[in-house]
């Protein structure tokens, strides 16, 4: 008359496999070998400095792209000065070196103080002041200069967010990774690394 329903029912007859004695119930099955190997792997990662970031791979920017050669001298023959063509961050107390001696020129128009930082879980974006450039993936030279390109890890001031540690201390600095090309857009967009 009616066809049997093609749905899965809880099978009361079958007993589950993997019988363990009473003293092993309530305990996770992960053996200590696995735990040890996980610990070792984590230690190795920490040592190598490899972190999980939202933008893992970026195109490496060559020197010709980031630094423009500025010719100086009476006959414009000397070519030891360079001008940064990408967005950069200089600290609060930044003072230029005497123009005769400065090798790297960071134009004021390309200096930024704030970044638009998105919290990945809350999906909310805040405009937070930048505290510093932590690492530029292309070159350590760019890190010292404060050049911000796509994939750079920067430190931002998150006291606005009101985060507190377990011990009760207020968190005021966190890392964020830049996700756009700031020199094209005119603003720095970043994702907070939680």
């Amino acid at each position: 008359m009616h066809e049997k329903r093609n749905t899965k029912k809880k099978d009361d007859e079958k007993t589950p496999k993997g019988a363990v004695p009473a003293y092993l119930l309530d305990r996770e099955g992960q053996s200590r070998a696995k735990v040890l190997s996980n610990m070792i792997k984590q230690k190795r990662k920490e040592k190598a400095g490899k972190w999980e970031v939202p933008v893992p791979k970026v195109r490496a920017q060559g020197e010709t792209e980031v630094l423009k050669v500025i010719r100086t001298g009476k006959r414009k023959k000397k070519a030891w000065k360079r001008m940064v063509t990408k967005v950069c961050f200089v600290g609060d107390g930044f003072t230029r070196k005497p123009p005769k001696y400065e090798r790297f020129i960071r134009p004021m128009g390309l200096r930024f103080k704030k970044a638009h930082v998105t919290h990945p879980e809350l999906k909310a974006t805040f405009c937070l002041p930048i505290l510093g450039v932590k690492k530029n993936p292309s070159s350590p030279l760019y890190t010292t200069l404060g050049v911000i390109t796509k994939g750079t890890v920067i430190e931002v001031n998150v006291s606005e967010l009101g985060l507190v540690t377990q011990g009760g201390k207020v968190i005021w600095g966190k890392y964020a990774q830049v996700t756009n090309n700031p020199e094209n857009d005119g603003c720095i967009n970043a994702v907070l690394l939680v």
Binding site: T15, A19, Y23, L24, D26
Partner: protein
Amino acid sequence: MSPDEDVQRLLIQFRDEAGESLGSPFDVPVTITPDKLQLVCNALLQKDEPVPLAFFVHDAEIVVSLEKTLAGQSVETEKVLDIIYQPQAVFRVRAVTRCTSSLEGHTEAVISVAFSPTGKYLASGSGDTTVRFWDLSTETPQFTAKGHRHWVLSIAWSPDGKKLASGCKNSQIFLWDPATGNQIGRVLAGHSKWITCLCWEPLHINPECRYLASASKDGSVRIWDTLMGRCDKILTSHTQSVTCVKWGGDGLIYSSSQDRTIKVWRSQDGVLCRTLQGHAHWVNTMALSTDYVLRTGAFEPAEATINPQDLRGSLAELKDKAQQRYDQVRGQEPERLVSGSDDFTLFLWRPAEDKKPLERMTGHQALINQVLFSPDTRIIASASFDKSIKLWDGRTGKYLTSLRGHVSAVYQIAWSADSRLLVSGSSDSTLKVWDAKTKKLAIDLPGHADEVYATDWSPDGQRVASGGKDKCLRIWRR
């Protein structure tokens, strides 16, 4: 010129373990050996047959001669030296060396194994929901008891050996008759979560073996009347799973739980007497000093025969015998309880007297899975997931030694009836027999294909049975 005259002589006084002195002090040469001391002591004890004795001076055992034991210490010839004598078991259990049979039959891992109190029957519970009885004389399967609908987590023999209770993961308890393999009475259902432990009432309190205590994950301990097939009392107070329950010989029931406490109940009316607190994590296991004698009831391992027999005699006779044996093992002091926990420590308690522990025994580096008193209550053995077994003094809780040899967690241990040997089963699929006197490995028993979940030594000392994840039960003999 007899050489004895040149040897230094000492005044000694024999004392037993409780401190009572035997005879009066007398003079012996320093080079006296344990054999001669034994002759003298037996003469003073005036027993019918000479009893083997071990002698201890200043907590060190006299092995070769009194002189050697006192070698490091300064001896005062003016004072009387106390020598403590300890009677050893008259019979001697021989170490098991070979696997005589590997019994297949279970279709899932063997989770629990138990010999009956006389050593006549062997029962095993498994993940395939059956309890199997095995014939020990031919080492073949005897009965398969079907009825459970989930893994059989724990089994317990009644002290007269006539009934077997088994608890399963579906929170049901069945009773079986070992002679026929049939179910006795009704299914005992009442718990809401799985049964973790079962314990019968001791024989010397009730020779009919009527009451059974069961501990469950739902946090309650139920006392069942097996004759009527119903629940007599429910002891609720624990807030988390009860991991172990023990029915003591003095009318008290002890239950340990994951809520870090041990509760002491009066078995007569089910009233909570005491709560023992101290552990920092789940209390996994407990052992009473009189465990072995409560398990064997009226059966005396010294009188064991090659073919184990059922206990004979009227109920009154059995009760008297059991009472006698219990009094002998217990002595003058109240029962001692040792508990092992996930916080890597053990506590030694005197639960009938005091809420505070006698001693906290630390040293393990991982959780403790099982603790056991030796049958003569002198040594406590603790098996842990840190691959070692530690031996502690049974009266004071002082650390004695560590037995290392396993390469993975040690799951269960069992003592031989004369307290000289200890067998341990581990997750590295081997069993090891350790000598308690020399504190070393005696025999290594490989053979299982996978983890060994359950181990038991028969009370008559002849066989060791072990079962594990490889679904087969192995019997080991000399």
